[in-house]
């Protein structure tokens, strides 16, 4: 091969590579219809995560939910779920969404967490879609025990908490089932003279799966109610505490609810 042949071959290869890369990256890239959820726009990513949580609330299949969230390698799934639950509450979206997000966040943080309460069986549809063959069904995922549906929660403890490390006084709520296991995804409603707020247990799994809290203002009297509770707890107010230096600071309140034995 002469020097001229070699140069021709090299020049052709350079032109060809440029053409090939241009075609495969710009003109006809493979991934236009082959993307994964990880590449979704933020609003769709959040919708995908929400759907994962709602599906988990329906099926209780944690392994399936983990698989769906595993594509998002750049986020901490439990943290993202907690963030979305708070966002859902602040945007006053349906309560079931925040509950589902909180339950999945708690389940991911501790796989031994009780699964969502079994959804009431839906009526058998009157007809199946014409083109679908009869499904070959396999057994549903096994559920671990959960709170007894319908049984109210009772207040078992209410104490003022003085902790100088806590700069902002809190209304801290722990919710347990009849066996003392923490229960995530329980809606808690608080009211005061000028407004109301809602939060869920399980959004701070690092503290406790059945734990939830909300900031309170000294001098304001609150009323707290679990959605599945018996009666509202009234007269909740931050009490003054004194530290080692004799300085006063606003204290927090700790409430423990438990579901009575069936």
């Amino acid at each position: 091969m002469t020097r001229r042949d070699t140069l021709s071959l090299l020049l052709g290869a350079i032109l060809g590579i440029a053409a090939g890369v241009t075609y495969s990256w710009v003109i006809n890239p493979l991934s236009f219809n082959e993307t994964t959820p990880a590449s979704l726009r933020t609003v769709y990513r959040e919708e995908y995560v929400l759907l994962t949580a709602l599906s988990f609330a329906k099926t209780g299949n944690l392994e399936q939910a983990q698989g769906r969230l595993a594509v998002f390698t750049d986020i901490n799934a439990a943290s993202e779920l907690s963030r979305l639950a708070q966002l859902s509450l602040s945007e006053e979206r349906p309560v079931d969404e925040a509950r589902a997000l909180a339950q999945l966040a708690a389940a991911l943080s501790n796989p031994a967490t009780p699964s969502p309460t079994a959804v009431t069986a839906t009526p058998t549809p009157t007809g199946t879609p014409p083109s679908s063959p009869t499904p070959t069904l396999q057994p549903a995922a096994t559920r671990v025990p959960t709170a007894t549906p319908g049984a109210p929660f009772a207040l078992v403890s209410s104490e003022p908490i003085c902790d100088p490390r806590v700069s902002q006084p809190l209304l801290m709520v722990y919710v347990q089932d009849a066996d003392g296991n923490p229960l995530p995804g329980i809606a808690v409603l608080i009211r005061w003279d000028e407004g109301q707020d809602q939060f869920f247990t399980g959004l701070k799994p690092e503290i406790g799966l059945g734990y939830g809290d909300v900031d309170i203002t000294p001098g304001v009297v609150y009323q707290l109610e679990l959605v599945d509770g018996q009666v509202p707890i009234t007269g909740l107010e931050s009490s003054p505490c004194t530290n080692e230096l004799g300085q006063t600071y606003p204290g927090s309140i700790e409430l423990i609810f438990q579901q009575p034995s069936p």
């Binding site: 290869a13 075609y23 495969s24 219809n33 590449s39 995908y48 879609p129 679908s132």
Partner: protein, 117 residues
């Protein structure tokens, strides 16, 4: 300059370029929409929409979510997911949710023309 060598070089280069651009280092898209998802993820998306519908019974919300997957008729998407689900032997509860949603979609009088969010 040898024309034949140039042509051979171009063909070789194109082959190398395609292997690199499609196989070794394909384009990674960002900020995509659900209608570009791989078929597996599209099916899974439909299953999740059906599960969500089974919980909230909000058919309008289900239609909005399915519309994000593209212009295909919503009931056809769900039927495709049922058929795929049967083949892959997905959990019974998912199939029940899909079936319930398909029945409701088939009962709609006409396409409501829902837009994706």
């Amino acid at each position: 300059m040898s024309t034949s060598r140039l042509l051979i070089g171009i063909l070789l280069g194109i082959a190398i370029g395609l292997v690199y651009g499609w196989g070794l280092h394909p384009v990674e898209l960002v900020d995509t929409t659900p209608d570009t998802l791989q078929e597996t993820y599209r099916i899974d998306y439909v299953i999740m929409v059906a599960d969500a519908y089974s919980l909230d019974q909000d058919l309008q919300q289900a239609l909005i979510r399915l519309a994000a997957l593209g212009p295909q008729a919503p009931d056809e998407m769900v039927i495709a997911a049922i058929n795929d689900g049967i083949e892959r032997e997905i959990p019974r509860e998912d199939l029940e949710s899909l079936n319930e949603l398909a029945v409701q979609l088939r009962s709609l009088p006409s396409s409501p023309g829902v837009q994706a969010p």
